[in-house]
């Protein structure tokens, strides 16, 4: 929606190249570490994009998005363990539950602004964390291990229906990219509809938005509902990939913060910021962890903490804001030849 946009054919070409690379490299580079990193990139890019719809577009800062992730992960896992239900159906149930929760907490929580909102979302996720740590029914602090799908001979096997692949990580790579694709498309469609306009109006100035007819509370809630459903879906996928869920990992504050961090590093509010953030941050985190994080010394986290500070100080607008730094300042008053919105309509039609 913003005017920082390449001409349409260029955008489409770039998009095709990115998709092409993402689809072909996992086949060419058949390496577990590489595949694992790609899966993590997919997961975190999608999580960050889901956060971006709420935090970046609508400007409602959540530091508790893990609550929806945990609900997605736990719902499908419990349904699988207790009722042998396919994770596909579990994912739907998890998304539905997350949206119900979003509805319940949305109206009261959105009366809060700024830091009050951020801390309320932390509080909500922490409540969920404590409850799941202590409820035996959901496995307590130890969490739940998911059963391995086996064939007639009792050997671990692959199953699309049970969303489990024991012979290779490759299907998970494409699933992660698929989930990311879904969330990315959702965000793009939102961005190019009246909803995107309304959300940005709310972020810019709630009072001015209300004055020209934007139902502020309703659209914040819409953003939260979409964000929560996407996040829950990713939660299910994550549980199926690890075949294990525990409260600290899926409800913890560190996950909530990481989700927001990926989006902010890339560029909160921009359509490709979350993806960019994940592409840069996740491999970096994985590399430092494997190179420096041995024997629990936490040296990787020392670097990670430093990195976060450096970004906050030197590039607070995120990576997508980088070109702005090097661009000559002249565009402000000159109207671009091709207005951005016709391009978005064109690219929508094609």
């Amino acid at each position: 929606m913003l005017d920082r946009r390449l001409p349409a054919p260029l955008t489409l070409t770039a998009l095709a190249v990115v998709i092409g690379i993402l689809v072909t490299t996992p086949l060419l580079i058949n390496n577990n570490v590489f595949h694992h990193t790609l899966i993590l990139i997919g997961i975190y890019a999608a999580l960050a994009q889901a956060w971006n719809i709420l935090g970046g577009f609508a400007g409602q800062i959540s530091l508790g998005n893990a609550i929806f992730f945990g609900i997605g992960a736990y719902t499908s896992s419990l349904l699988l363990v207790r009722a042998q239900l396919s994770p596909w159906l579990g994912a739907l149930a998890g998304m539905a539950l997350a949206m119900v929760l979003a509805l319940l907490i949305g109206y009261p929580v959105f009366r809060l602004a700024g830091h009050y909102l951020a801390i309320a979302t932390i509080a909500l996720a922490e409540i969920a964390l404590v409850v799941f740590q202590n409820l035996e029914f959901v496995g307590g602090a130890a969490g739940i291990s998911l059963p391995i799908t086996r064939d007639m001979q009792g050997r671990p096997t692959d199953s699309w229906w049970m969303l489990q692949f024991n012979s290779s990580k490759l299907p998970y790579v494409y699933l992660a990219l698929g989930v990311l694709g879904v969330v990315q498309v959702v965000a793009t469609l939102l961005d190019r509809s009246w909803i995107g306009f309304f959300l940005r109006a709310i972020k810019n100035d709630q009072t001015a938005a209300a004055a020209i007819g934007v139902p502020v509370a309703r659209y914040k809630l819409i953003a939260l509902l979409i964000s929560s459903a996407c996040t829950a879906l990713i939660g299910t996928f994550y549980a199926q990939y690890l075949l294990f869920v525990d409260p600290e990992t899926v409800f913890g504050l560190s996950l909530s913060v990481l989700i927001a961090l990926v989006a902010i590093l890339g560029g909160a509010g921009s359509l490709w910021g979350p993806f960019l953030g994940a592409v840069v941050l996740i491999p970096l985190a994985e590399a430092t962890r494997s190179q420096l994080g041995g024997r629990g010394t936490a040296f990787d986290l020392v670097i990670y903490g430093l990195l976060i500070m450096v970004i906050a100080v030197f590039q607070p607008a995120g990576l997508t804001g980088l070109p702005e730094r090097f661009r000559p300042r002249q565009r402000t008053s000159v109207a671009p030849a091709a207005p951005a919105d016709t391009q978005m309509e064109e690219s929508l039609r094609s």
């Binding site: 306009f197 001015a208 139902p215």
Partner: protein
Amino acid sequence: MSLLEVTDLTMAFGGLVANDRISFTLHEGEVLGVIGPNGAGKTTLFACIAGFLKPTRGQVRFAGEDITGMRPDRICRRGLVRTFQIVRALPDLTVLQNVMVGAFLRTHAMREARQIAEEVLAFTGLEARAHTPGKNLTIADKKRLEVARALATQPRLLMLDEVMSGLNAQERQQAVTLVRAIQRRGISILLIEHIMDVLLPLSNRVLVLNYGKKIAEGSPDSITRNPEVIAAYLGSSYASPS
């Protein structure tokens, strides 16, 4: 036919009564001016009518419907829209996008909203600025954008809060022309201005507030001759030299 009816509207902030039992009627197609010195309660009155403040007492009826205490966006949907004295252009959105937000009130189609917005931009003379972000506009353009955005919601009544203040003579003349053009489109206008010279020629009728109370109402002519108004504006020494 009366479009807006305000009855006994009172707004108190603790002990401070910003609006005290104000009643008036605005007729369809009319430009009703509201004047009064700074702190007379003009902006509070706007906020109460448009739903940004819930009046302590009294009633606001718009097109026959009681809208007292209704949410601003609902009031806007019914065709009553306000601008802000302290301009609130959405800073990260371009002028076109700012106006499209208003247009989306009546349609959810991108193409149609864009058409409405472009038409409004042409009408308000902002086409050249269509792709400038809100934050980079001059004050005069920001004020005009306020009006354009409000017009895009296709209102029946437009409430303008000091759209002329802070403008130079030329910009002010353009603004006056714009207000006249809006009236010719059949849109009723409630106009706040504390500069009498600007407001009087534009208004069909004028309402005068002082210290939260309505002290006069009538034709621009009768207002300028009203001793109480003169006293409020020029200080009591002018009205009754002592």
